[in-house]
């Protein structure tokens, strides 16, 4: 076609970048829609089985089962926010780290998106934002599950909606940023290893299955886990969804979530740029 519209140099405004950002978002939406069922299975399976085993099977076994005793009747209430945090976390990693690692390492598919007319940081930001949306869907799915699956229904008690919204958004962005760090630094062969040595430990030690306050009997651990960003996701959701359980003060949670999101975002972006520009 010879009807090329001459583009004046330097005419690139924010509008062009925004359109490109929107285009990337559309692309990700298209791909996600096509893989809706795998997506739901991926985010739903873990909380589903967890709730089923710990709040449905074990309580029915009654007093005879030490596992059920350990959890206590309140266990469902304690783990509801924890499972939401896990859902957010795994979603963030599955939506950013896994595809990014493959796109950088094996297929180099990222090339086309990197050549879009928008700053490279915006390409990374789009990945994080899109993953945050998936994380939020994943977290919200846990709420009805916790109501229908356990022997005794667990009700989310959200009184402070703004707090809930802020925590949900920040925790999801944090998970996406963590995914960016992993995806841009780890090569695809080692991604399984990263799950075993990083993702699983920070989840288990992330105050998912117990509130942070109750760690006071193991002081060194209580202090040690403060470096774990998952703790603030769990505690934040605990403050917002099951406020009756002891939790950290909201200001501490929000400060830590903002801090870790900024830190991971920065590290992730640095890794991303390093992979994209030589």
């Amino acid at each position: 076609m010879s009807n090329q519209s001459p583009v004046a140099p330097h005419s690139l405004g924010a509008g062009v970048s925004l359109k490109a950002f929107f285009g990337l978002f559309l692309r990700d939406t298209r791909v996600l829609m096509r893989e809706m069922l795998p997506f739901l299975l991926r985010v739903g399976m873990q909380p589903l089985l967890f709730l089923f085993v710990f709040t449905f099977i074990l309580p029915r076994m009654g007093g005879g089962n030490p596992m059920a005793m350990a959890g206590g009747a309140n266990f469902g209430v304690i783990i509801l926010p924890g499972l939401m945090a896990v859902a957010i976390m795994f979603s963030g990693i599955a939506a950013v780290a896994l595809p990014l690692s493959a796109e950088f390492g094996i297929t180099r598919e990222i090339d086309d998106r990197v050549m879009c007319p928008l700053p490279l940081w915006a390409v990374a930001l789009e990945k994080v934002c899109f993953s945050a949306i998936q994380s939020m869907v994943a977290a919200l799915l846990v709420i009805p599950m916790a109501y229908y699956i356990p022997a005794v229904p667990v009700r989310a008690q959200i009184h402070d909606w703004p707090l809930f919204a802020v925590v949900l958004v920040l925790a999801s962005l944090l998970a996406g940023s963590l995914g960016l760090v992993i995806g841009s630094t780890v090569n695809p062969k080692q991604i399984g290893l990263v799950f075993s040595i990083l993702v699983v430990p920070i989840t288990f030690l992330g105050c998912v299955y117990y509130p942070w306050a109750q760690l006071d009997k193991i002081r060194w651990l209580q202090v040690g886990v403060l470096f774990n960003p998952i703790v603030y996701m769990s505690e934040g959701l605990r403050a917002a969804v099951t406020p009756q359980i002891a939790h950290m003060p909201w200001w501490a949670i929000l400060t830590a979530l903002v801090f870790f999101t900024a830190l991971m975002g920065r590290l992730g972006l640095r890794g991303f740029l390093k992979r994209v520009v030589s």
């Binding site: 010879s2 970048s17 692309r27 791909v31 297929t107 879009c116 520009v277 030589s278």
Partner: protein, 341 residues
Amino acid sequence: MPTEYLCDQAYTVFWRVGSIFPCGTVKPLIVEIEALTKVYETKLRVVALDGIDLELQQGEIFGLLGPNGAGKTTAISISTTRALPTSGTVRIAGIDVVKHPSHARRHIGVVPQFNTLDRSLTVYENLYFHCRYFGFSHAHAKARSLELLEQFLLTERKNVYPAQLSGGLAQRVQIARAIAHRPTVLFLDEPSAGLDPQSRMAMWTAVEGLRKEGITVLLTTHYMEEADSLSDRLAILDHGKVLALGTPDELKATYGAETIFDLKLRSHDDLESLVTVMKSRPEVTSADVTPEGVRLIATNADGFLPMMVQAAARYGVRDLGITEPSLETVFIHLTGRDLRE
């Protein structure tokens, strides 16, 4: 006299501004590479580009010819905002690629060496979303994608995923995608690497077709035939330096009007005396001992060949390779080695 002077002035001014030619055929400069260097400071210091200067005019197909490791891909990476230069500048349509990378990307289309098609999208969607990235509306993106599918004979494979495409087809989709947003310049990095001859011909046809659209093309290759038949002008690159620049015919006339004779000889004793004898002939430009015999660069005048064979007869001529004047001889003349060595 004054008119000529004025013309020269106008020429210079318009060349700089990159506008239309008042006194001749000066076309806007689309790619301006100035004193470009790239040094990789790893354990081994590698100088990938050692101060290259190139200018591409609108609408031309420009070939960068050189062996692997000559710096071709580095030059493309910097020009397409994917690598940062150590020094020097590159301007695409007047835009500095280091200072304004995302602005510059609007004018750039790239077909990289590898298949980078989006595996999660169909062929049609690869084109459609590419258009959306560049700000096309839904209707506009759809129309452009369908138009490209037709132009590149891909309509039947519209709904196929990239993993199901052969190398040649994938390459065609990549070219279609790269020009979808109507870039000012298209970079093709080793476009025929890994393609079977038939796909290569199809790719050449596709590139030739771009000429009609007025797109400027910069392609890298280490295939002589490709550089020769596709490029309007070409630069020969080796060790990060431009060794020669011109149209294929100019290059052949300047550097390669000679024939290369590769003599493979049975006996390698005292080859030096053969070399000395040959060097004394007026037709011979150079004569060197090679691992298998002697290589001569000479004008293929009448009677030269029998004379040479006779002179070499006492060494036992096992084989004689003759390379007619071509870009290959240009390259050997300039670098002293084969492109594929």
